[in-house]
Symmetry: C2
Subunit: 409 residues, 2 copies
């Protein structure tokens, strides 16, 4: 089937979502079936607003540069497609621009959107193929062993914890406790991944607070005191989604921006809360750090494995779509742990959209403040290798597209 | 003069303070005049507590590994030596352990301590040489062009701002403003250094708030709105020490830990304050990040220039002490900007102890929210080059000494 394609990125950026876009774009530009290769500027918003730019007019060196550029170079969004009107508009724009292939790089919500557009096209008898490419630092997509973006965020955050842990180790007589806040919403995947930094009892992180374990201040205090007694310091990684036993977040934000446009509660502040608790209850000085979006944008120390997998999921989405697939997300399949071997598979968009992969209870340590060897075996392969970034004047050089917007088909 | 030496590290760690220690240790181990090479565990506290460990018994590979290990591998402290009794004790310990050479790597307070011990030794007729090695991310030591530690902190923080800036660029329709908090206490050197990330109007940081410029909420709001109109987003770097026109910090901490043991007000929270201000006054969603000690511990992306300079200041301190110098700090002298050429010099410890290098007013941009080309010319050479860190299992491998403590001379 000949036609144009649209590639779009959605949701929170990652260090390697552009590597996935690179896989899609380079494969699409090579395909004789795909005529124009367009990017939607800012995800589904770019389709609704007819803001499509022509990737065929970009410098091939910039397209290659996607492999080392963090965040979403096509632009992203958090717009939730809800109405039939929106879906109708999306399909109308695709028809107007002669788009027969749609590659959506994102999480659950994006897979839901791609699925629904695909179904609508089928109902209307419009020949069309939609493929999903997985992306989320939160690692909570079902039907895939792990998600592109996850390996890089834990490699970088574990490095931050290791390095800040050395700072606390040197200054324990003054700054005795350090609390570092991990992203990940309601899943502990990212916080858990920082355990990779720990090679001995001396090493940070000493305590990991997961959203999956209701926060118990007494047990926590005991654990902090244990480390103060044995190694005279304590580095704590707290998930932004850590909750009290009653299900409320340990620190919720109030006011106008308390919820995002999806109705999700905005998190942040868990680290301040734990710092204040340590100072008032354990009576030692504590510091805190909130790396926030910095952790997911760290292309300068991304995982090569993650980057290669991200690229390949993008490339496979195009190859399979051209071969006739539609309504599917490309998944990552783990063939073996050691040596690590992987391949790609497929899952139905609708199943991915409605699934969620929780952090397995059996990977939570018996004390509730650590993770098991089983988890480490799972996570280890995902952070292997580094991606050298081009340096200009001592700092990374990242690409930015020129964005030649297209008028119509 | 033959005798043992003590090397100590003090204050907030940096990515390269261990490179300075490496310079001291490797040179001292080679010197026929220096017999035992001891480290004080946790700065001056290690001397007061007679906690000295023998660096001659450490693995030379670990000593070499100091060049790529962040934070203070000898241990650091924030203990302020105030009493004559303390100084007497320090000198007594030096005598007890046959210590004739003292190398103190630190900031103003450390130079003051080294100076006073040196004077006491002279008054008591004890042959002794004390040399200071500059260290501070804050870059506020007088009589040196810049301080080891500064180049690496701005290289890494500028990279964080660049990468998080790309995140905001991709998601401006949802997360429109991002506020990143820089360390640096009452000097704007670190926040200013993030301007290196800006290669075009599009690039972050868009606004820099310096402690040297009294915060003007109205002018700030106008500046944010300017960026929202022109590029639809705004990334703000705020110094932790940013102040209101009345001299109070824009966000001061209260309570038991409001001041550290030096009586300095504990900072942090400037970013939250600016985020809240943007949301309530500009009415767009803002995020914030507080990298805290992570920014000063980033050995995985340290500046090679900074690392080499740090090493050389340590090495020179030993060479000059053995040649007869005492009561001096090794300084960095800039010979030329482009090509960058530097050498080392000397300054009196007492002068350094009482000096402070402010961020020059003429390097603040006319709008009060930026820095000048003159500053960029100053800062640029300091971030050049990278220091490859050894990797083990996908994460940096940093050294930790075995610490064979010595009983007495």
């Amino acid at each position: 089937m000949k036609g144009n394609c649209v590639v779009a990125q959605s949701g929170g950026p990652t260090a390697v979502i552009n590597a996935s876009a690179c896989g899609v774009i380079q494969e699409a530009l090579k395909s004789p079936d795909i005529t124009g290769v367009y990017a939607a500027h800012n995800g589904i918003l770019g389709i609704l607003n007819e803001a499509l730019f022509d990737l065929g007019k970009e410098d091939p060196a910039d397209i290659e540069g996607l492999k080392t550029t963090p965040s979403a170079a096509l632009g992203s969004c958090r717009y939730k497609v809800k109405t039939e009107e929106d879906y109708g508009k999306i399909l109308a724009v695709f028809k107007k621009f002669g788009v027969r292939y749609f590659f959506y790089i994102g999480g659950n919500d994006s897979m839901d959107t791609a699925d629904k557009v695909n179904r609508l096209a089928r109902r209307e008898g419009y020949e069309f193929r939609a493929m999903g490419v997985p992306k989320t630092i939160d690692n909570d997509l079902a039907f895939t062993d792990h998600c592109p973006g996850y390996g890089s965020v834990i490699k970088y955050l574990a490095t931050m914890v290791m390095e800040a842990g050395r700072d606390t180790e040197a200054l324990y007589t003054a700054d005795t406790v350090n609390v570092i806040e991990a992203m990940g919403r309601n899943a502990g995947w990212i916080a858990a991944g920082t355990a990779l930094a720990k090679r001995s009892e001396e090493d940070a992180p000493h305590i990991i607070l997961l959203p999956e374990v209701p926060f118990d201040p007494e047990a926590f205090k005991d654990r902090v005191n244990h480390y103060l007694k044995t190694i005279r310091r304590c580095v704590i990684v707290v998930s932004e989604g850590t909750k009290n036993p009653d299900g409320t977040y340990i620190s919720e934000q109030k006011g106008q921006f308390a919820k995002d446009s999806f109705g999700h509660v905005q998190l942040g502040g868990a680290a301040n809360y734990i710092k204040a608790l340590v100072e008032s209850e354990v009576k030692v000085k504590a510091r805190f750090a909130i790396p926030s979006t910095i952790q997911r944008a760290g292309a300068h120390f991304a995982s090569l494995t993650d980057s290669q997998e991200a690229y390949e999921t993008g490339r496979q989405a195009v190859r399979l779509a051209v071969a006739g697939e539609s309504g599917k997300m490309v998944t990552l399949v783990r063939e073996s742990d050691a040596p690590y071997r992987w391949s790609t598979g497929l899952a139905d968009l609708s199943q991915v959209a409605n699934g969620e992969k929780y952090f397995p209870k059996e990977w939570i340590g018996a004390d509730g403040f650590s993770v098991t060897e089983g988890f480490l075996r799972y996570a280890w392969p995902l952070i292997q290798g580094e991606v050298p970034v081009p340096i200009e004047g001592g700092l990374p050089r990242y690409i930015r597209f020129k964005k030649h917007f297209v008028k119509s088909a």
